[in-house]
């Protein structure tokens, strides 16, 4: 196999890798700014300089020429080369900053150049803490600057678009943002204006950067030049806690990170998954984060005397549910599952009904034809439509569902986390005279109608799986504590600095942002206990998915471990769908 020598060590390679990417894939390091694995390579930041040379071959024999010590004779390139656009070839010899002083010096000097007109305002810059420029200057940069004259001034606080704000002085003109708009989102809305030390990105005059993927440029920007209008000045990144999750705003299931501080979700960023969303996600998927913090249902509610919903204790709510169930025949109960809820939740919901002799739950997909874009925004508005299908729920269109609800047979309705009134499937009148038991995360017009309302955990509070439009099952991790979870005890949860060191006696941590809700598996155990059913899952959702994989052929072999290792698992949706 062909080999390349990097800092004196030999590495084998396959195919035609570029040097910078190869170095990173080998776990080595080289500073860089403009390169991005999913975009074209302009090699304009000049930060990734290395020294490279080719071994000299004897033309006649084809043998490598050797020096008196028996070492290969190397013909060095006359100048340093940028590694990002350099092809790795057999026998190539590379020296990085680790083994060559000239390279080290070149990288340092380049950083001094880049910083000449940079405002160095890290203390007030949102990017600080996750800034490649800051990190690489710290590691490879000069101690100070020799440049003591006035810096070039450029526009600041420019509202490039509704969601993105530009500080042109911080920009290092790597063109990652313009390349993103040209090559990935294809909105072609950005360009670099002016030249030399006066240049910076902008839109055409009078145009606004309203690209539905605009916030990806904020992630891409290797400095604080592009910041999110929403997240600006909200938190220092090192105070936050980052948890992997899945975008539930549509059917694509983009892989994301949930950023919390003091148990509040403050932002969402994409997480790399080459099978689903690469490095990107749509802006709408980020904008839904207030759903996880605000307007949450906390503590169960019951309707007394047909009018007012009042908060109730869990015991009382479960007792009420028990009494209602005992007073009704299973045939009079209609169960409605939800593409907005996870596989585990729907499975348990169906299992619970099944044990009581209630017929298979119905569900109606939440599709808005024409709203997708063929990229990462789908017509499907729910994260788990395929999951519910594969569980064998009875798929109906919204008309059929309405008919079923209105039918005189349905006296009680069990509804899992689908806001049917809000999305226009049902009207409030359709539910009159029915006893509605709802399991939900957020308040809505629909939950207002519930006679009995159980608050359940949302995607950022539990580990649960969702099957995306392409039949890929992926899962979330708990990122936010509920009243009943504790990140120090739950091994699935991670701790940020403030989570670890904060106390409720300081200014940064409170106990306030914890919702009084239960995951469906815990709730079902309690309700089951009241009704004499044994549905307990000591191991939580992990044990539920195990049971799903054993009982449902479509999910066979599915475990959390595999989903974690393989970044989700492609299910065979074509052949395994029980009913559609």
């Amino acid at each position: 196999m062909p080999e390349v020598f990097i800092d004196g060590k030999s590495y084998e390679f396959e195919g035609q890798p570029k040097l910078l990417q190869f170095i990173m894939d080998e776990g080595l390091e080289l500073p860089f700014f403009c390169y991005h694995p999913s975009m074209s390579i302009p090699a304009n930041c000049r930060q990734c300089m290395v020294k490279v040379g080719q071994p000299v071959k004897d033309r006649d024999t084809g043998e490598y020429e050797l020096d008196e010590n028996g070492e290969r004779v190397i013909r060095w390139f006359p100048k340093l080369q940028t590694a990002c656009n350099f092809d790795v070839t057999d026998g190539l010899v590379v020296k990085t900053q680790e083994s060559d002083e000239l390279v080290e010096r070149a990288q340092k000097d380049n950083l001094e150049f880049i910083l000449i007109n940079h405002p160095l305002d890290c203390p007030i810059c949102d990017q600080a803490g996750e800034c490649p420029l800051q990190i690489q200057t710290y590691k490879y940069g000069p101690e100070g600057s020799r440049f003591e004259v006035k810096k070039v001034h450029k526009p600041k606080r420019v509202q490039l678009g509704p969601r993105v704000i530009l500080d042109a002085e911080r920009c290092i003109n790597c063109t990652r943002c313009t390349r993103f708009a040209d090559e990935i989102s294809k909105s072609y809305q950005l360009t670099i204006t002016k030249r030399g030390d006066k240049n910076y990105p902008t839109t055409a005059p009078g145009e606004t950067f309203d690209d539905p993927y605009s916030l990806n440029t904020v992630d891409l920007c290797p400095v604080g030049a592009l910041t999110s209008a929403d997240f600006r000045f909200r938190a220092r990144v090192w105070e936050m806690n980052q948890t992997p999750s899945i975008d539930v705003s549509n059917g694509k299931g983009c892989n994301i990170d949930i950023w919390t501080r003091d148990n509040q979700v403050l932002r969402i960023t994409p997480r790399h998954n080459p099978h689903v969303n690469d490095y990107w996600m749509p802006d709408v998927g980020r904008e839904i984060y207030p759903l996880f913090n605000d307007n949450r249902i906390s503590r169960p509610s019951v309707i007394l005397d047909g009018e007012n919903q009042i908060k109730s204790s869990w015991n009382n709510a479960i007792e009420t549910f028990g009494e209602q169930m005992e007073a009704i025949k299973p045939e009079e109960i209609l169960a409605i599952g939800s593409a907005h809820a996870s596989v585990e939740e729907n499975y348990l919901f169906a299992k619970f009904g099944n044990l009581l002799g209630i017929s298979t739950p119905l569900f109606t997909p939440h599709i808005e034809p024409g709203s997708g874009d063929g990229f990462l925004i789908t017509d499907d508005q729910a994260p788990n439509t395929n999951g519910v299908r594969l569980l064998g729920f009875e798929e109906t269109d919204s008309k059929q569902l309405k008919t079923a609800v209105k039918s005189s047979n349905a006296k009680m309705i069990l509804l899992l986390s689908d806001h049917l009134i809000d999305r226009g499937v049902l009207s409030a009148d359709d539910l009159s005279g029915k006893y509605l038991v709802m399991f939900a995360t957020n308040e809505s017009e629909t939950t207002k109608k519930a006679d009995l309302l159980f608050p359940i955990t949302c995607v950022v509070e539990h580990a649960a799986s969702y099957v995306n439009v392409d039949g890929r099952i992926q899962r979330s991790f708990p990122a936010k504590e509920t009243k009943y979870t504790n990140r120090r005890l739950d091994l699935e949860m991670t701790e940020g600095r403030l989570d670890r060191y904060g106390t409720k006696f300081d200014n940064w941590v409170t106990d306030e942002n914890k919702v009084d809700c239960l995951p469906v598996w815990d709730l079902m155990a309690l309700i089951g206990g009241r009704l004499g059913l044994d549905i307990t899952y000591e191991g939580g959702s992990r044990e539920v998915i195990k049971e799903v994989s054993q009982n449902m052929p479509a999910f066979s072999g599915v475990t959390y471990e595999r989903m974690d290792d393989e970044l989700g698992i492609e299910l065979d949706t074509e052949h395994q769908t029980v009913k559609s």
Binding site: Q189, T193, K194, T202, A204, G206
Partner: protein, 178 residues
Amino acid sequence: MKYEFTEDELKQIEVIKARYPEARPATLPVLWIAQNKFGHVEPDVQKLVARTLGLPEAHVHGVAEFYTQYYKKEQGKFVLDVCTCLSCQICGGYDILHYLEDKLGIKHGETTKDKMFTIQQVECLGACGYAPMMQITNGVYVNHLTREKVDKVIHGLKNGEMPEFEPMEMRKVKPQEN
């Protein structure tokens, strides 16, 4: 303001486009057609060019902004591009720029009230050997500038006399004898 190309100009643009495998490279020559016609390529003209070529507006804007030779707003009758890049700077480019600014009573980037002169500060125009120098309206180079020479050129321009393009005196290099 509404800018349009005539049928003839559109035909000319088609000919230009046909020279390249795609529309992008036609941006430069078509911006020239526009500037020659309208005297500038302000944003609405850039949009016209983008529309005509079927290119993103941002792209045409970026190209127009890159070159000082394209005028992004209406300019005076004579645009004086004074070079202050390295060689010219060393040989007094800033002196000339400031002298000109004082003489015409405007700063660089501005146009005189009578719409006669615009001063631009530009980077190297490739005439470093004749520094300091300036260019007049993307055309004639005036080399080896002195204050007196500037006075003369301005006086001449006011009377409608464009200075001659000065041929470069090449230093004769004797072939080496071995």
